[in-house]
């Protein structure tokens, strides 16, 4: 189909116009944009808390923030980044936008529920922001009992209620995705022709609907204990604080996979494109997503090796933790094998792919350190843990999100951004990230504990490096925001398929029409058929 043939209807961005048309929209693409704006705001808020943490840690003394304020700042950094940025980041934006298009559907199965999920997210997030304005919360993002249920005088209930409400947004999105994948696939779109991004979002949705209710119940149990004095977590009235950690991590460890699995899906799309090859071991990559989703539910006790948890249970959790590394390694090896002898294209998506693979690899391997019980005794609650999970959630999750955003930006907005700037930004982010978090591995191994606003003077050099890196990282993120926003206003128009990619999303106009397709597509090709893929047309662009 010629591009001129598909550029005849107004896109979803302009039909219809007006604020109300956006706030009451049932179009999955517009809801994805609403989510994108929301999570960007929360990323900025969470980032500003991170900046305060790094500013405080430049010097060994607690001279910028008091101990109490520091507790609140790192708590809010965690709560905002995890619940209001990372968890919805890829599924609710790129997943919402592209999952229906990739399987040839006009929308998600339940468009109204999709909009409802965004409103629930906004209500939950606003409530948590209210907790900030009312004076903050200082329990850490984990809300551990008995501190959260007995001792803390901060706004635990308000913040936890915000998280509780936002959980329903997650459940609704997961439920919508699962039904869509089962019921809305176009003719010919068999399960094993689905793009791996869809498989990854499907696996993520399973985690969302099976895990999120448990955190909701856990929060309700805290409320029941505080209001009705039922002995659930408080040992003075017959409860067990370790039970809270079991229930919390039953959700919150799989939540890590909610953050990283969609990122793995994005990387699968990008790797095939930048290598211009069919993905190596498609079915292995697809099933490894499901394996991660399932095994990810069996490892939560590795967060609890140094609590009162039994040593025997710790052994079992430790062994299964080693097992969960296998499907992650399957993906990494298959991506590498895909790139091997591929016609690698040095476009900006490649930079994010390489960044992701390097950082995720370090994050994953250091996870094995922490999964080993003996070593965890030494490393638990040190900066080693902080570095590890940032390598996974930021190095993996955020790099993949930004990679996906850059890859799909032309389709979402119909505009191209500056390729040289994107390459510089990706390298700034990669360099800044490593400078921020690699010193934390060392200082953590040396014994610097997390969650303190002051530390012994011999750790200062590592903390100064870390803060310098955070500055570079922040500059990289700001740069991305600026050139992407600029591209909407002044960027050249994007062609239908700038990267020469396969998949239904690249066969429709940029940006798509409201119903995605003029007629329901019939799929006859395998996924990632790069032997027959069109050549990239990024250069064939023209300014407005």
């Amino acid at each position: 189909m010629k591009e001129a043939d598909v550029q005849q209807e107004p896109s979803y961005l302009g039909a219809p116009y007006g604020l109300a048309s956006w706030l009451l929209t049932k179009d999955h693409k517009r809801i994805a944009i609403l989510y994108l704006i929301s999570i960007t705001i929360f990323f900025a808020i969470g980032g500003s808390f991170a900046a305060m943490i790094r500013a405080e840690l430049v010097t060994p003394q607690g001279d910028f923030l008091t101990a109490d304020l520091y507790n609140k700042v790192f708590t809010l950094h965690g709560v905002v980044m995890i619940f209001f940025f990372l968890i919805p980041s890829i599924p609710a934006t790129l997943g919402n936008f592209f999952m229906p298009i990739m399987i040839g559907a006009k929308d998600l199965a339940f468009p109204r529920i999709n909009l409802l999920s965004w409103y629930i997210y906004v209500v939950g997030a606003t409530l948590t922001l209210a907790a900030v304005i009312m004076g903050g919360v200082d329990t850490g993002w984990t809300f551990y009992t008995p501190y959260s249920s007995i001792s803390s005088t901060t706004n635990v209930t308000t913040a936890a209620l915000g998280v509780f409400i936002t959980g329903f947004s997650s459940i609704l999105t997961g439920f919508n995705f699962i039904v869509t994948v089962h019921r809305m696939r176009a003719p010919g779109m068999t399960w094993f022709r689905m793009p791996l991004f869809v498989w990854a979002n499907y696996a993520t949705s399973l985690v969302m609907i099976l895990g999120t209710p448990v955190i909701a119940i856990t929060v309700l149990l805290i409320a029941a204990e505080r209001a009705l004095h039922l002995g659930v977590f408080d040992p003075r009235i017959g409860g067990d604080p370790v039970l809270f950690q079991h229930l919390f991590w039953f959700y919150s460890h799989p939540a890590v996979y909610i953050m990283i699995l969609p990122g793995m899906g994005v990387i699968s799309e990008l790797v095939a494109n930048v290598s211009r090859k069919q993905i190596f071991g498609y079915s292995f990559v697809a099933f490894s997503s499901l394996a991660i989703a399932i095994i990810g539910f069996l490892v939560w006790g590795h967060h609890m090796f140094v609590t009162g948890q039994s040593i025997y249970a710790g052994l079992v959790f430790s062994i299964i933790t080693m097992l969960v590394a296998v499907p992650s390694a399957v993906k990494t090896f298959n991506w590498t094998a895909t790139m091997y002898k591929g016609a690698v294209v040095w476009d900006s998506p490649l930079f994010w792919v390489l960044g992701f693979m390097g950082l995720f690899l370090i994050g994953g391997l250091t996870g094995l350190f922490l999964g080993a019980m003996g070593l965890d005794i030494h490393l638990h609650d040190t900066y080693f843990v902080v570095a590890h999970f940032h390598y996974i959630m930021v190095g993996g999750g955020v790099m993949a999100f930004l990679g996906g955003l850059h890859f799909y930006w032309p389709k979402m907005t119909g505009r191209m951004y500056s390729e040289p700037l994107a390459k510089v930004a990706s390298m700034l982010v990669f360099f800044g990230f490593n400078l921020t978090f690699f010193p934390q591995f060392i200082v953590g191994y040396m014994g610097m504990p997390r969650r303190y606003h002051s530390y012994p003077a011999e750790f200062q050099v590592f903390n100064v490096l870390s803060t310098a890196g955070a500055t570079v990282l922040g500059a990289g993120y700001l740069m991305i925001l600026l050139y992407l926003v600029y591209s909407i206003v002044k960027g050249p128009k994007a062609p239908m398929n700038p990267w020469g990619a396969t998949g239904l999303e690249w066969k429709i106009q940029s940006p798509p029409i409201t119903h995605n397709f003029h007629e329901t597509p019939v799929v006859t090709e395998e996924a990632y058929d790069y032997l027959h893929a069109p050549a990239p047309t990024r250069e064939v662009t023209h300014h407005e």
């Binding site: 006790g301 039994s310 052994l315 079992v316």
Partner: protein
């Protein structure tokens, strides 16, 4: 609703309802009896039976697609994972000693 979808008869609904009432009566009865260590297991068994009746008949899972049955069962399997792995901690706390504890 798709054509051919089975709708439980009123007679069946009434029978399930009566069974639930009987089981509720039984719950009240055993609450007043001291069964020793069996107190909790018996109460849980009755509750599980009632929940199963509701899911299988009132919620129509019995006549639904294999996919629906899989979804219904997997929710409980995940609950069992929580119980099993949780109990794997609580019931084994004395199994291996820790120096100094």
């Amino acid at each position: 609703m798709s054509s051919g979808h089975h709708v439980p008869t009123i007679g069946m609904c009434v029978r399930v309802w009566l069974a639930l009432l009987v089981l509720t009566g039984f719950t009240i009865f055993i609450a007043s009896q001291d069964l020793g260590v069996l107190n909790t297991p018996v109460a849980l068994l009755v509750a599980i039976t009632k929940a199963t009746l509701v899911i299988v008949f009132f919620m129509g899972v019995k006549w639904n697609t294999p996919l629906t049955k899989t979804v219904a069962v997997s929710g409980f399997v995940w609950l069992l994972i929580l119980f099993f792995m949780g109990m794997n901690d609580y019931l084994t706390r004395g199994w291996l000693g820790v120096a100094g504890r």
